[in-house]
Amino acid sequence: MLTIDGKEVDFKEGATVLEVAAANGIYIPTLCTYSGLLPFGACRLCLVKIENMRGFPPACTTPAAKGMKITANDLELNELRKNVLELILSEHPNSCIICDQKDLCGHYNICPTKSGRVTGCAFCPNKGGCELKQVTEYLGIKEIRFPFTYKNLPLEREDPFFDRDYNLCILCGRCVRVCQEIRGVGAISLTKRGHDTKVGTAFNKSHLDGGCRFCGACVDACPTGALSARGSKWHGIPDKVTTTTCALCSVGCSLKLETKWEKIVAVRPDSEGPANQGQACVRGRFAIPALVNGASRLKYPLIRRNSRLVPATWDEATELAAARLGKYLPGETAFLASPFLTNEAAYLLQKFARVCIGTNNIDTSSFFSGPVIQSRIKRSNMGDGTIEDIAKSGWIIVVGGDIAASHPVLTVKINQAKKRGAFVSLIGSKQNINSRLFDSCISVEPSGYFPLLAGILKIIVEKKGFDSKFVTSQCNDFDEFKNSLKEIDIKTIAGTCGISRDMIEKLTSTILPSGRGSILYGSKILECDDPMQIIGMLFNILLLAGSPAGLVPLMDGANSQGVADMGALPDFLPCYQNIADKDSLSTFEKSWSAMLPKKPGLNYPAILNAAVEGSIKALYVTGGEIPREISLERLDFLVLHDIYPSPLFETADIVFPAAAFTEEDGTITSLEQRVQRLQAGAKPVGMSMPDWTIICKIAEKMNVKGFEFSSASEVFDEICRVNPLISGHGIRDLKLKKKFTLTPVKKTVRSKKGVLHKKPLWHYRGFDLTEMVSDLKILHSKIFGG
């Protein structure tokens, strides 16, 4: 209990005076406080009076204590705060703030705003949401009694993505602290002292050279216009803001799309996003407008006539597709579901394949999805770790993935775990960025993963330091597993992968005593002889640590998870109902009122092979994820959904223009199996349409019933109807399974060499984002060379 402005209130131990005030609806102006950051006490705006304390302590740094008598607002404090703010403003372009015509100005100034220098709010890119202006208005500052000094610092515009004008900077330190405390990067700091203090980098390096990741967190944290996203700084206040989910990687960050003049002009992270809590990465924050507004977006359907692709109407194109698809035997037709499709599109695509064509030749066009999903099915453990689990882990291992580049927001979670004392190790080739993320790096090629992991398992079992209570009560096949380790000889491991017993012991010593942990694994494991075996071994490590929910696959497509959940798999119906299982099959036959093919279809690699050999004659591709080295010459018929022209245009017979994810409603499922909504921030460009609509249109032309949907949510309703497990929180519920199984460790040699498709690290559907967004290319070549 304490009193604040005469009001008696309760408070939580450890809260600051500012937090107690806020919790009780008492406003205290602040500038340097920012959600998620430690108190800093730099701006001195939050000064309060506390009985028996000398002077005016800042509310943001003063811990609340029992019996405190606090004055949060009175005339004296208001005067004091005005003084403080006037001092701050004396070094900030302030003519507009105090101009008594400013309200009119807001109405009548017609964009005099493209000058480089900001000399007042009318010229400032921040005018839409300026905290400094809000506080000035709150305190009612009408004049500034101190002489104005302009710092006359050079504008910093050499780096990609955002501009910096430190003449507007009030040195609140929010950008520096966000970069350090939340992102764990520390690409900027407050340099020098006194009057010369400035946010900067070591030796004035460019951000690019200084290791900045261009996540934009600093731009979002800045209360002034000092930092501004270049692409969107002159658009002013958006007409519309739409919350959606980022479909550029599988983290599933929640984003706010800002629409102006019917176009997406800017994107900001949503502070309420369950996965990202206000964070994003360079792709989500800066790349989306350029990606979706490109001039060469496909705007109308194309059909091949006299060996050339020519524009056609939707009617023509869908009719042609229906007619030609009907000509092939079911076994000669195959479907590839892009891991960037929405759940609705993926569901309808597999339904189309099975009901309209009668084939199970459908799979996700990702080499990584296959082993991940199969391994889960084999383990009967469909649910893996959540993103929040990562933050709470006592230890973390990242295997075979460049996580800071591929799934940047996860590093925010790893950073949180680190702060709580987690030891973070990397197994794999040295990361290109952010080596500070890792406490230890075991540098080993994919061929060394097997011996290394075998060694880790062996030492864990040998040392008996594992969670034996968990293992005996929850795991099957411990003895078999243990016996399989007999073959493993630690001494020879060093010979095969260069890792000594010492190093392995060091690693295991970080795992065993630390309880719950997480293992995040990436697509490098595909280069191992038996990726499934590797996943099994990683899961074994977690089981031995009593931490079965800690396995996180770094899925390569934004919706790899959902596309599989929806049954875009050759041997499983939606929600992993086995085709070989008669009951499942007949349930779906009933709900879809159709006969379904019983024979499992071809998987992704097999479909590609069959297309090359000519046994697949018709191929339906959604998003162009076909490796370049695959020759489709023998293919008879290729249908393509795409958003831009792609190399597949050479072979495609029909191209349907698809809507980008910012232009459609629907759902996608993140790597933590969270089903999240997409909401359109703009209309599909030209005549393009969401993928699911395209599929329905073709089905209609084929006179097949069951595709009459007028919205994505109607499709989602059907998905939930045919399998109630998919409602709400995804298929996590499937996890409620019997016991876990420890996989015996068995060395296998890759039987036949499959095609390996190296996707560009940053991609959307088949497209390399660095080709679409020039600033991304600059960043990419800085990080990876070339």
Partner: protein, 155 residues
Amino acid sequence: MKNTIKDIIKPYQGEKGSLIPILQAVQEKTGFISEDAISTIAMDMNMSEHEIYGVATFYTQFRYTKPGDHMVKVCLGTACHVRGGEQLLDRTENILNIKPGQTTLDSAFSLERVACMGCCALAPVIVVDDKIYPNVAGPKVEKIISRYSSSDEKE
């Protein structure tokens, strides 16, 4: 270079709050704090180079360029200031073509501004290496500098 920096910081390893002593040791042994030094220290302390730089520049005692053969200090203490210290600094900057804290390309001179050398009666003063030159008004400074640049003469 890296090795010697590593050697210098070795004794401090694992010590919390040892950043300032480390920086001091590096400056003492190598004469300045190089980019290399900062990145080595950063690696060692698991901090970013920018954080280290931020801390270092908060203190005025560190320099970031290799000192030249001769150190030129221009006094801007109160007495020197009122008697033309600023102009003296301007002139010196022009002659050497560098700003305070920098070193000429041929590594002959470094320039620094200082506050009061304790001989205000002689203001404005300039100090080259350890020699104090009094009442340096007008073009006098050119002569002084040229004395050091023409040959290796050190007084």
